[in-house]
């Protein structure tokens, strides 16, 4: 049948729907190394967070065991592989528990900001009009403001007002979330604005599909494609913001959770006094976790963006192309 012969499926489909892991196979060399490193580091982080109670020798706020205090600023020893802090906590335990706090904050902050940001962005982008202008103005104002400072203000508002009701964790998560809402808002709004004039949305409009149905069925789902990438980027930002908050003294108190930024802040004096074991573990934990999530995010971006994507050189033919290298797609 000639029709079928001619109408072969298109050689290069416009939108890949194949899941990312499926694409991994084609990824070569450095990109694969990046992706693997990112995944492994992030995996370790998440694993540590989930199994902190099992891995950590002590609780995050534990000062004694068997009726004896650990003692403050003790050198690393068998009982305390990474020593103890000035407050007399076990450094290893606090570092491990810190991953749990970081994960909780990330999840909390992301869920909060994604919900608010996506909803607002969708409505604003698709409906447009004065509401859009208003929201964009507000988001711009917030975006223009350094996220760390915004988080500081929010942490004061949230924790100051109702510390007895909301724990330190949720107030930190909220403060970080508030700083992120404009980002999601922006991304989703941009997508919604773009999708609004896409042919398939117009097709739905011509058909007479209701606004709400278009927004949920056509626009929303298609505008969420980029979010996983932003997740990983924001995850690292969340960690850094939290650490900044902790460092400036607006973060989580040691009795409610272990937090790397706070521990770093408290160990600054140790570092200048030659006590290395209190500062390095939380510091490195921050660096490695952010490194992991950022690597993961970057590789995902690369994979999702064909312009940045790179496959291994072809092996089929004879000679490789001359002038090989940088200036190609």
């Amino acid at each position: 049948m000639a029709d079928d012969l001619l109408d072969r499926p298109a050689a290069a489909p416009r939108r890949h729907r194949s899941p990312l892991p499926g694409r991994l196979r084609g990824v070569a060399g450095l990109q694969r190394a990046m992706l693997l490193t990112g995944t492994v580091l992030t995996g370790i982080f998440v694993l540590a967070a989930l199994s902190a109670p099992l891995l950590a020798p002590y609780g995050y706020a534990q000062l004694q065991s068997g009726g004896r205090l650990f003692g403050s600023q003790q050198h690393p020893s068998g009982a305390h592989p990474l020593g103890t802090t000035i407050a007399g906590y076990d450094v290893l335990s606090r570092t491990l528990w810190g991953s749990r706090t970081a994960l909780e904050i990330i999840v909390g902050a992301l869920v909060l900001s994604v919900f608010a940001g996506v909803l607002l962005g969708l409505v604003s982008g698709y409906l447009g009009g004065w509401l859009d202008r208003l929201l964009v103005g507000a988001a711009d104002a917030m975006y223009a403001f350094p996220s760390l400072l915004l988080a500081i203000i929010m942490s004061i508002v949230i924790s100051g007002g109702q510390s007895s009701l909301v724990g330190g964790l949720s107030s930190a998560a909220c403060s970080v979330a508030v700083a992120f809402v404009p980002q999601y808002f922006r991304v989703v709004r941009a997508e919604a604005t773009r999708l609004k004039s896409e042919a398939f949305v117009e097709a739905a409009r011509v058909i007479g599909t209701g606004t709400w149905r278009i927004m949920t069925r056509h626009v929303l789902r298609n505008s969420l494609r980029t979010l996983p990438l932003i997740f990983t980027i924001n995850a690292s930002e969340a960690i850094l913001t939290l650490a900044g908050l902790g460092f400036l003294g607006f973060g989580i108190e040691p009795n409610s959770a272990a937090e790397w930024g706070y521990d770093l802040n408290r160990s600054v004096a140790d570092v200048t006094s030659g006590i290395w074991w209190t500062a390095l573990p939380p510091g490195l934990a921050i660096v490695l976790t952010v490194l992991g999530t950022t690597l993961l995010g970057e590789s995902l971006t690369d994979l999702a963006n064909p312009r940045l994507r790179r496959r291994g050189p072809a092996r089929a033919g004879a000679a490789p192309t001359p002038d090989g290298g940088a200036v190609h797609d």
Binding site: G168, E253, S256
Partner: protein, 520 residues
């Protein structure tokens, strides 16, 4: 204007005739009517003088700008000024300036000012250039001379300061209204201030040994520590961390001078909301008392002092710190092992005697940003100590200071951390402030017998008698523990070893005055 501090390229370049002091404090204002805080006080106490002041190392006040003070009536103090006093700008310092200063304090009553210290001052008169007459509201106030030595008592130049509003720092500096041992000659607020000895000063402290002093402000204690360690500055006054102090004390070329300070830390019980408090469902004064006493039995102050503060703080068994006349450690013999240590059994006994079912849940609040970052460690340890008895379940919470102050008096905190340092070194300031009716602690405690004793002590002109009453107050209060004294703070001054003039051992009456500092 600056002569000696000319930089020669070396970062640590301070010459012998000049001395640099580092601090983490902040200045509110150079106007005596506009500041009442330690940071401003550090400068003000060097550039302004008071009629009376405490001679260093003693808690007794002595005439400074004044030559004599006399109680000339039940409600009247008469002060005679030294003759020929001048400000650094050449203006004469007369009784008119003195009257102006006190009238101004009361008139402006600035939100950041110390006017409330003058609560008992009714009026000031200047009958002649060297005589000032203070009329008080209540009779026989033995504390008024002390008040004259506080921030509220600095004498301001009436030709410089406006009578009804605060003067800008830069205007103050430009007008040179200095009457203390030093004069400010360049002023970069909260960053760097340089001083030169004030030749017009004829006061109690004598002529400064070092002509030029710079005060450098830090925001981060570890930078302050590194700078003194590297020799970029000569001395540190307020405030290094415990770790820094410990480390510096091992360094050669650096001397760490420590001693007990006059700041204290304690836990307040809110009589309304503490377990079995008057506003709770199972209100029961006897059980509430038992809970307070059991807590007093359970805390281990020595452990707090050693683990959290590396023994720079010391255990405190009364609200009057050691070193103040009349201080007596009343709680020591009453609670715990009766030697100052904790005792589980004693706590269990007092609770069961009152019929309190255990564990008692305590909601304990502390603050994160006002009493130092060690507060978190301190309260974590207190929680550990209390829970180790098995009698308590502690819910630990913290709040930022700006909110803490409001929440605390709104009865939101059943048990909470507080601290105090005195405006003048008298036991009354450590008793009336906590236990008097309508005190700032405001925890619902009011004992008529204690109130009467405090009244008595405040108007008792016989020193020995007064000391006995002060001890009585402490013993009486100790039995009911409205607040639980924990620790007495320390003073620490770090100097390069080339700097002299700081005693090796400091006591709570010691005040850091620059006049005695010298550099080899």
């Amino acid at each position: 204007a600056c002569t000696s501090a000319k930089n020669d390229g070396t970062p640590a370049g301070t010459s012998a005739a000049s001395l640099t002091i580092g601090t983490t404090d902040q200045v509110t204002s150079l106007d005596p009517a506009g500041s009442w805080d330690a940071g401003s006080g550090t400068i003000e106490s060097e550039v302004y003088a008071t009629l009376l002041s405490a001679k260093n190392g003693s808690s007794e006040v002595a005439p400074d700008l004044a030559s004599a003070i006399e109680l000339t009536g039940p409600k009247e103090y008469t002060v005679t000024l030294k003759a020929g006093l001048k400000f650094a700008n050449g203006h004469d310092l007369t009784s008119s300036d003195v009257k102006f200063s006190f009238d101004r304090q009361l008139r402006i009553a600035d939100k950041n000012g110390p006017a409330s210290l003058l609560y008992n001052l009714a009026s000031t008169a200047a009958p002649d250039p060297t005589t000032v007459v203070f009329t008080l509201k209540s009779a026989n106030d033995t504390l008024f001379p002390q008040v004259l030595s506080t921030n509220a008592g600095y004498i301001a130049d009436e030709q410089v300061f406006p009578a009804d509003k605060i003067l800008d720092d830069t205007a103050v500096v430009a007008a040179k209204p200095w009457n203390g041992p030093y004069a400010v000659d360049s002023y970069d607020k909260n960053s760097l201030v340089s001083f030169t000895a004030n030749s017009a000063y004829r006061g109690l402290l004598g002529t400064p040994k070092t002509a030029h002093v710079q005060l450098k402000y830090y925001t981060d204690a570890s930078n302050l520590k590194l700078d003194v360690q590297q020799g970029a500055i000569d001395a540190v006054y307020r405030t290094l961390t415990v770790t820094d102090l410990q480390d510096l004390s091992t360094k050669s070329g650096i001397v760490v001078h420590t001693g007990s300070g006059n700041g204290i830390r304690f836990i307040v019980f809110n009589f309304k909301t503490q377990p079995y408090g008057s506003a709770t469902k199972q209100a029961d004064p006897a059980k509430a008392l038992a809970v307070r006493q059991a807590v007093a039995d359970s805390v281990d102050r020595a452990q707090l002092a050693s683990q959290v503060y590396k023994n720079t703080f010391q255990p405190l068994y009364t609200s009057v710190p050691d070193g103040i006349t009349g201080a007596t450690p009343s709680l020591k013999a009453l609670y715990g092992d009766q030697h100052g240590g904790p005792d589980k059994a004693a706590a269990a006994k007092v609770l069961s005697a009152a019929g309190v079912s255990t564990p008692v849940t305590l909601s304990l609040q502390y603050n994160t940003d006002h009493y130092g970052s060690s507060s978190a460690d301190e309260y974590a340890l207190i929680k550990t100590q209390l829970e180790a008895t098995g009698l308590f379940k502690v819910k630990l919470q913290s709040t930022e200071w700006a909110q803490y102050g409001t929440d605390r008096v709104a009865d939101l905190y059943p048990l909470y951390q507080l601290g105090w340092y005195a405006d003048y070194l008298d036991a009354d300031d450590y008793l009336a402030s906590f236990y008097a009716a309508n005190s700032w602690v405001n925890n619902g405690y009011a004992d008529p017998a204690v109130l009467a004793l405090i009244k008595k002590e405040e108007t008792d002109t016989d020193p020995a008698d007064r000391t006995a009453v002060i001890e009585q107050v402490q013993n009486k209060v100790a039995a009911t523990v409205p607040l639980l004294p924990l620790l007495q703070g320390s003073t620490a001054i770090v100097t390069r070893s080339s700097v002299s003039g700081v005693p090796a051992e400091l006591d709570s009456a010691y005040q850091f005055r620059w006049a005695e500092l010298a550099k080899k």
